[in-house]
């Protein structure tokens, strides 16, 4: 990453200024897990207007032609502040880069500018009721029609499908043969298409950001397939490295951590040592994550390193919740930022080590990557 340090410093200051103004204007309240639960189309539009979405994409597609390091700086500032970034998160993080890699010229021209302006949101349609960590076992099927594909099946744990424009769905376009990774394709399905039914799923935090998407003979035009038909698995794998190694994998509970160390209640000696230990490991993870971003930019293999970041990061996110819980022990009715953040984080924590591939599966990826 060759971006001048002065560019990064200036950009960081600009994002912090923006966040301070938004906070002062009351446009958001800092929350934990903001990249999943903080859905605000209005806030996403503001980021788009400032050029902070699709930052690394070519200008021809509405991007900012900035470096990966600049994008990293913007997103880590937004996450650390607990800003509502969920509406555009999937499209900016993985759909855009996927389209740039394997999308058609038409797809890039019609879709990317909307994503970069914070006006077009995409939901990820990977998981299914029976697929869990074994993504290649998806059963949603697409069969050819005169004009494209007819898709039937069920997607689940899809965040914000009820508030997005497209579903990027992983579907089987050829019967399963010897190679279970063959015959899969990804296609963009308009969420307003006939036959699409979206049901929000209430989770234990009391929210309903997850949805179940039923696809009932949905017609999808042929030109909405992303990448070569039958080659969808490659796209999924390339998305996973982006999905697993970013700062959202260790900063989900950072707003709580920041409030704990700088809030009005001074931590005791035990808590201080816990804080020092967690901060050291968080710092190391950031260094590791930056290294992965660097490898991604140079298109070097990163599966193992990305899996490591997610395994370590998500466990640390959970540990930070425990540190805060032991340090501040709020009464159930306490209000104020720290008790509120703690309640949110505690209820969200069980999902950290599940989403994006369970940590047990990731550890298998790591061990095999090491040659064990």
């Amino acid at each position: 990453m060759t971006t001048a340090e002065s560019t990064i410093v200036a950009l960081r200051a600009e994002v912090r200024r923006f966040l301070a103004e938004e906070l002062a204007a009351g446009s958001f309240r800092p929350s934990c897990d903001c990249w999943v639960r903080g859905h605000s189309p209005d806030f996403s539009r503001k980021l788009g207007d400032r050029g902070w979405l699709g930052m690394t994409w070519p200008r021809a597609y509405g991007g900012g032609a900035r470096s990966a390091r600049e994008r990293f700086t913007v997103i880590e500032e937004l996450l650390a502040a607990g800003a509502p970034v969920a509406a555009h998160w999937i499209a900016d993080r993985q759909t855009g880069p996927l389209l740039l890699r394997v999308g058609t010229e038409r797809q890039k021209r019609t879709l990317l500018p909307g994503v970069a302006r914070g006006r077009l949101f995409v939901a990820a349609g990977m998981s299914e009721p029976d697929s869990g960590s074994d993504l290649a076992s998806v059963r949603t099927r697409a069969v050819r029609t005169a004009t494209g594909w007819r898709v039937s099946g069920r997607k689940v744990w899809t965040s914000h499908a009820h508030k997005s424009h497209y579903l990027l769905a992983l579907v089987r376009t050829a019967p399963r043969g010897g190679d279970r990774h063959a015959g899969l394709s990804q296609m963009l399905i308009g969420l307003d298409s006939p036959g699409v039914h979206v049901r929000p799923i209430e989770v234990m935090t009391g929210e309903a950001h997850f949805t179940e998407v039923t696809l009932d003979d949905v017609d999808v035009p042929a030109d909405m397939v992303v990448g070569p038909v039958g080659d969808g698995w490659r796209g999924v794998v390339s998305e996973l490295a982006h999905e697993r190694s970013g700062p959202e994998r260790y900063l989900s509970t950072f707003p709580l951590f920041a409030e704990l160390v700088s809030g009005p209640t001074a931590p005791g000696a035990t808590a201080l040592a816990d804080i020092g230990s967690a901060a050291a490991r968080l710092w190391a993870l950031r260094a590791l994550s930056l290294r992965v971003q660097d490898l991604l930019e140079r298109r070097s293999p990163t599966d193992t390193a990305a899996a490591l970041v997610k395994d370590l990061g998500t466990r640390l996110e959970g540990e930070i919740v425990d540190i805060a819980r032991r340090a501040c022990r709020p009464a159930p009715t306490d209000s104020g930022p720290l008790p509120t953040l703690l309640r949110e984080a505690q209820l969200a924590a069980p999902s950290f080590t599940l989403r994006g591939g369970t940590n047990e599966i990731l550890r298998g990826v790591v061990a095999r990557g090491l040659g064990a």
Binding site: F254, V261, A271, S277, A279, A284, E360, G364, V366, L370
Partner: protein, 362 residues
């Protein structure tokens, strides 16, 4: 292959070729004079010390490469103490750096006294736990000047003027007691605000230890991955068992974490040689990883790893010693946590995103 990778492979090859004889020698006298001579002849013992002060030049990143290779090879030589600590300390105090093994001593108030003597002081008593004292040609002693906050006094001692009571850490590395001559040792003040203050020396010690640990951790990981692939149980390599894979992956994660933050600490110190917190973070992560490495390394190796026939114990015993030397993970965590809590709103995030910070006077 870049220059530093070349340096690493040259040093590694040298250490590997000498490993057997160096270990025999260390078993007899605690260190290997033969290996030391070879490293010194190759100009590897004073890397990062300016040539103008008698060193062999290069920067901290070059030295870090050599130190990690020494950790990887469990080399029984005082490389960190010579180049990173005493060499740096002497050079930054404007004193010519002598050849031969060097070390530093940090006197504890409990066993030493600084007696006023004319304009200066005399240090009397005994200094415990001096690394490699028996091997050193010179020992740099640093102490806080009594009644003068922020000022440092120093002495350069020829150990032949002292009595040395041998001692070792769990790994058998010399941690000797230096019995100072009865009339004491003259200590002179260093110029205010410059040179090797004890707090800066302590941080460099922590960094050196973390670098050795990262080298050793990587060796244990390599040994463990290899063994898991070779050792068969129930008709298949034990690496095929998911329970074993989980352990190895957690181990690899802790090692990568320690490596990433230690690299960052070296880079940061290269830019700003008073950076403090990132060095603490490096020693904390290295200490944390050491405990994982010891547990998983031995669990995977089984009984053979517990024997002295196998190389593993050389690293286990070093990691056990090193995680506690130059500040354990709990000591540095308490210090880092206190600094973070005292840094106000946004302080933690500023720290993690790279605003330079300074060593506070302790």
């Amino acid at each position: 292959m870049d220059d530093r990778e070349m340096l690493r492979s040259v040093v590694s090859a040298m250490l590997e070729a000498q490993a057997g004889s160096a270990r025999d020698e260390a078993a007899r006298q605690g260190w290997s004079a033969g290996l030391w001579r070879l490293l010194e002849e190759s100009g590897l013992t004073l890397v990062s010390v300016p040539e103008s002060a008698g060193g062999s030049g290069g920067d901290l990143r070059d030295l870090a490469t050599v130190v990690q290779a020494c950790g990887y090879g469990a080399a029984p030589v005082p490389l960190v103490e010579t180049a990173l600590l005493a060499g740096w300390g002497l050079a930054s105090a404007g004193i010519a750096v002598p050849s031969g093994p060097l070390t530093v001593a940090r006197p504890a108030a409990a066993s030493t006294t600084l007696v006023p003597d004319g304009p200066g002081h005399r240090l009397v008593g005994r200094v415990c736990g001096v690394p490699w004292a028996r091997a050193a040609r010179r020992i740099l002693v640093l102490a806080a000047a009594p009644g003068q906050p922020g000022r440092t006094v120093h002495a350069v001692i020829d150990p032949r003027d002292c009595e040395i009571e041998p001692g070792t850490n769990l790994a058998g590395e010399p941690r000797d007691t230096l019995v100072l001559p009865s009339r004491g040792v003259d200590c002179r003040p260093l110029p205010a605000g410059s040179g090797p203050a004890p707090s800066r020396m302590a941080l460099r010690g922590a960094l050196g230890r973390a670098l050795l640990m990262v080298g050793s951790l990587r060796r244990v990981l390599d040994l463990t991955v290899r063994y898991a692939g070779e050792r068969e149980q129930f008709g298949r390599p034990i690496s095929r068992f998911q329970a074993v894979q989980q352990q190895i992956a957690a181990f690899a994660g802790a090692v990568e974490q320690a490596r990433a933050i230690t690299d960052l600490a070296v880079e940061t110190l290269q830019q700003d040689d008073r950076a403090a917190e990132v060095v603490m973070a490096a020693k904390i992560c290295a200490g944390h990883a050491a405990s994982v490495a010891i547990a998983v390394g031995h669990q995977v190796h089984g009984a053979i790893g517990f024997t002295t026939e196998h190389e593993l114990h050389l690293h286990t015993r070093r990691l056990m010693s090193w995680r506690d030397e130059d500040g354990s993970e709990s000591e540095w965590s308490a210090e880092l946590g206190a600094r973070i809590a005292g840094s106000g709103p946004g302080g933690l995030w500023d720290l993690l995103t790279g605003r330079p910070s300074r060593v506070a006077t302790r």
